[in-house]
Structure formats: structure tokens, C-alpha cells
Symmetry: C2
Subunit: 327 residues, 2 copies
DNA sequence: TTGTAGGCGTTATCAG
DNA sequence: CTGATAACGCCTACAA
């Protein structure tokens, strides 16, 4: 059905080898055969078979991206930039969203490690993935601690925590709550919490972190955040773990009669282009998503080519100073 | 470096054939060899080579997804569901974001048509893609007209347009503007415009559609929407082409001193989970994203198995009745 | 400048 | 129950 190189060769009246040479511009070809072969390829609408090439070359031209879900704006934008950067370097991208299933990450890994991809960029929240160890596949982690062999690209979470907390303290509020994922997850995002705690302590203020699992549905999250307000009725400010949650918190606060920023200050985290454009009033910490993507791809390509890389790449964050973080 | 089946066979003291049988649970195996081979596989941490399999089987287990960008919540959620559905059926997913480049779509296509994938789900906004014709690859389009051979999965855009327009008219406003992409793009989304025009006419009201290209950056879009207000200073309501733009319009309106909903009604389109949760006040038309993804995958699988399919699948929309659409 | 032959790793057919 | 062999489509020594 689908033409192969041999068909092209036959039609052009040459050997497979010659046809292959034309296909890859290798060696010396006479103008005449060049044209013959090109014509034949066109006529048959020939496309070289990817699997055969991969088998021979021992590389696939594919990179696997494993992230919780592209329906979250942060990961959506990150994956978008990653795909863009990789495309520039002739790589295509296989994506796996691992949020729903804990087993799915492992499953993806096992399959991808089967020589299905030339490298992996990972930013999942699941844990205990021993599989990474067993592979010699180049891997880069984004905002996620895997193991000592795997380089991490991350934004400056500690400084982000400092910026957010200090912004809130400046308005003179005392009761500032931080929301974050489970502590036991070994992620650089935990440094935001450390920064928050340190800054609060330095100012002689009490710190309280309210834990909410990433994986919860929107309704479950709303329930949790309602509990936050029940638990801390006098809360004056919230430093949320991400912008989506920050906005949900704002809505709940308003439902409960709290005006923002008068009765409650809110600072988010991530600062995606989307959120900055549709909720510009939200004060937030901007992660340099494009830079993170670029760096991750650079590092991965280096690893693929066997070049040495650093264990950690920390990129600077900035504060988006909206109306919700100051009064 | 990486062990192959032959290494496993050698270690287990059997032939490649037997090892392959164990790997695929095919035919009769004695308990003893079964164990031997399994042990060997474990010991070597064997992973079958994907390219070799693909070459032999003539299928890749991959589906290509070509969409404008996953950083838009609608496409993000859609891709998320598509990936989920396809994973359930043992397919992995290659994604291509074609928004930035016009040539990128063509490029992706050509590469993917090279037997790199077993099927394609397409939802781009670019046009004039002749390549689809030349391939016998199973393709399904989402909300996009390709050519007569390619089935379309879409939500009921016409009814969506009716719901949105009628919602606005109910509040007694007269000057209702609709925003949409370029008319010349042959997309089912144009039916929203038709519905809007028809409903307005039926009510004896004037209709005006304001064209804004999808591909514009956020800043360019803001500029455009500012022009909208300059052009129609007395606008009373806007039926926007999507929720993100609707929210941007709301922000601009408020900057210009218009209170919503008192001085301006706004209805969006898409109704993603994200937007319904972070901007619940926005009245919008909900596209059944999950159903669309399921249907698209069903149809694609049918096509791959050579089963006949309908030319068009239209799924019902619903109205999300927020505070911005009524006064 | 062009052709022949063998191999990339897997699976299926056909004997045994 | 198990093993040899050919084939999937492409690419590159090596020969001519």
C-alpha cells in the first residue's frame, strides 16, 4: 500500500542504495539520477518509514514529557514552550498526563524507557518512582527532585516565597496563612514554605501552612478552602500555592462577605500569561516559564550529546504587583 | 548497551523465539522455561525495543494531536481528555502546537504521515492543508472543516449562539456585539455567528460582528477590544467568541468605567472547568469537552479498524448562567 | 558514480 | 512444547 524505497528505486530505474542516497543527500549523484529519483518520489508521494529509520539509527527523534495535566495553565504554558523549543531542534513530543492515575506515571515510564524516546522531561507530583534509576535515558526534571543523577530546572522558589510574604507583611497584616501541597513530596516548591516561615519568624509573626493536595477536584478544593476560613476566621492574608487556587480562595472569601483587599489580602504563585491577562488584579510571583522550558531543553540536549551538566538550574522570579496583595 | 531479546534468550538458555513467546504470552510454554526467561528479563532489566516492534507490526501505537496551543484552557482540557481516552486504549500521544507557525502544521503533518502515527486528531485554525488528502491515514477533526472524507466532531455551535444571544436579549438590551474569528476560516464556530445574526434579526435588532484573529497576542487583543469600545461607545452587551477573551473584555470595560452587568452584559463561550471555577460569574456556553474527546477517540478508533463512520457528530451545549449575562 | 549484502530488534510461520 | 528462518523498511560498508 504505502510505497517504500524499493518502489521508488524501481520506478526510477535505480537501486535502493541510490534512492536512499538521494533521500539523504549523501555521496555523489549525477544530476540525471537525482532528477529521476526525485520525480519517482513525488509521483508515489513517498514518505520514508519512521520505524525503520529509528530501528537503524537507534534514535527516535522523540522526547517524552510527563506532567500532571496540561489543563492547568502553568503546565499548559510550560508544555507549550517545551514543545516549541524541541520542535526547533527537530524533536517531536510525546506527552503523558499523570495526574489522574498514580500508576500511569510508572506505566508511561516503562514504555518510554523502551527506546520509545530519546529523552524525558519530567515534572510530575507523584513519588517513589524507582524506574528512573534503571535507565540510562537522559532525563531532566522541572521543579521536582528525582535523584542525584537527574538535573533539576526550577525557578527560585525560596526567593518567590520571600517576595510574596514580604509583600503581605508590608501592609501590616499579622495573620498570614500559606497554602501548599503535602510536605512529604520532595519538591523544590517546599522552599516557598521555608521562605514563608523564615520571613514570618524574622518579623515575629506566627506561621501556619494549610495543606491541600494538588490532585483534588475543584469541588473538593473549595471544600478545603472553606475549612481554611472556618479554621482561621481572623485570617488577614493568604499566600496561595498557585494562582488558580488563589482565585478560588478569592471567590470563597467574597462569598463569605470578605472584601479584597480590604478584609483579605491574597498573593498567588506561577504568574502564567493567562492569569496575568484574565485576572490582572491578582498579585502573584511570576515563574519564568519560557526560560525554564528553554533551559530544560538545553540541558536535555546536552545530556543526550553526552555533555556534562550542572545538578541544578535556578531561574529568577519576579513579583506581579496587583491590587490583591496590598492595602 | 541495552539488552535485546537475544541477550535474554542466551542468559535463559533458550532461543529468541521462546523468549519472544514468553514476552507476549503466546503459545504453550513449560513452567520451567517461563520462569527461566522471566528471571533473565528481570536480571537484565529488559525492555522490548519499540521501533523494531513498530517496524514489524506496521503500527506505532501513537496518535498525533494537532492543535493551536495547549496554553489555552479549552485546548488544554481537550488535549487532557484526549490523552486520557487514548491511554485507556493503549495509545500514546504526539502533540503538535501549530499556533505560532503557519508552516508548522504542514511540517508536522508531513512527518506524522510518514507512518509515525496510526491516526490523527486535528483541531487547528490554519487553512489550506492539502496534505490531508494525500494520505490514507485515519483522521478526525474537532470543530474544524477539513474535507469531505474527514469526520468532524463538534459541539452544537448554532444552538450555542442561540442560547447566548437569547440570554442577552432577555435583559432588554438592544446593542449587542458579537466577537469572532475571521469569517473566511471554514470552521463550525462560524455557525455561532449565523445563529447570533438570525436571533437578532428575529427580534428586529441590528447585528454587528467584530472580528479578532485568534492568533493575536494578549496585548494585541486588548488593543483590538479597546477599539471595539471606541467603535461602539453605546454597546450594551457582548457575546464573545471565548471565555478568555470575554474576561479580557470585562477588564477593559471596567477600566473604561463600565460596571458589569449594570452597564454591560457579557457572555463567553467554551465553559471550561477552569474558567467556571475561577470566574464563576461569567455567563458562558459550555462545550461538552469530555464528550467531544470521547467521541473523537471513538470515531478515530473506528476509522483505524476500518469501520464506517458518520460525516459529522454534533454534541449538545448548555448555558452556564452567571451574573454577567443578566440584569 | 552506482549496486550488493547484511544488519538494526522483533515477531510469525513452519518444522520438529 | 521449542527452534531456525525470513521478513518488516531503511541505511551503510564494501565492491565494482
Amino acid at each position: 500500500m504505502k510505497p517504500k524505497l524499493e518502489d521508488v528505486a524501481k520506478l526510477a530505474g535505480v537501486s535502493k542504495t541510490t534512492a536512499s542516497r538521494v533521500l539523504n543527500n549523501r555521496g555523489y549523484l549525477s544530476e540525471k539520477t537525482l532528477k529521476k529519483v526525485h520525480d519517482a518520489m513525488e509521483q508515489l508521494n513517498y514518505q520514508p518509514n519512521a520505524a525503520a529509520r529509528q530501528l537503524f539509527k537507534q534514535k527516535t527523534g522523540l522526547i517524552g514529557l510527563i506532567f500532571p495535566t496540561v489543563s492547568n495553565p502553568f503546565f499548559g504554558e510550560l508544555v507549550d514552550y517545551l514543545e516549541y523549543e524541541l520542535y526547533q531542534r527537530q524533536f517531536k513530543v510525546i506527552i503523558g498526563n499523570s495526574l489522574q492515575d498514580i500508576s500511569k506515571e510508572t506505566d508511561y515510564l516503562n514504555q518510554l524507557l523502551a527506546g520509545q524516546v530519546d529523552g524525558l522531561i519530567v515534572g510530575t507530583h507523584n513519588q517513589g518512582i524507582a524506574e528512573y534509576k534503571y535507565s540510562h535515558l537522559p532525563v531532566v526534571a522541572i521543579d521536582r527532585v528525582m535523584n542525584s543523577d537527574i538535573p533539576i530546572v526550577e525557578s527560585d522558589n525560596y526567593n518567590g516565597g520571600v517576595l510574596a510574604t514580604e509583600r503581605l507583611i508590608k501592609s501590616g497584616v499579622k495573620q498570614i496563612i500559606h497554602t501548599n501541597g503535602p510536605v512529604d513530596l520532595e519538591t523544590p516548591a517546599n522552599r516557598r514554605r521555608l521562605a514563608y516561615e523564615k520571613v514570618m519568624q524574622d518579623h515575629g509573626l506566627p506561621h501556619n501552612t494549610f495543606t491541600v493536595d494538588f490532585r483534588l477536584s475543584y469541588n473538593e478544593k473549595k471544600e478545603q478552602y472553606n475549612k481554611l476560613f472556618d479554621l482561621y476566621p481572623n485570617v488577614e492574608a493568604i499566600f496561595a500555592s498557585n494562582d488558580v487556587d488563589a482565585k478560588i480562595i478569592m471567590t470563597i472569601a467574597e462569598e463569605r462577605g470578605k472584601k479584597i483587599p480590604d478584609n483579605l489580602l491574597v498573593v498567588g504563585y506561577d504568574g502564567t500569561e493567562l492569569m496575568r491577562n484574565i485576572v490582572p488584579e491578582l498579585t502573584t510571583v511570576i515563574q519564568p516559564i519560557e526560560e525554564m522550558a528553554k533551559t530544560a531543553v538545553d540541558v536535555l540536549i546536552k545530556r543526550i550529546s553526552g555533555v556534562q551538566t550542572e545538578p541544578e538550574y535556578i531561574l529568577p522570579v519576579t513579583l506581579w504587583d496587583g491590587r490583591t496583595g496590598i492595602k
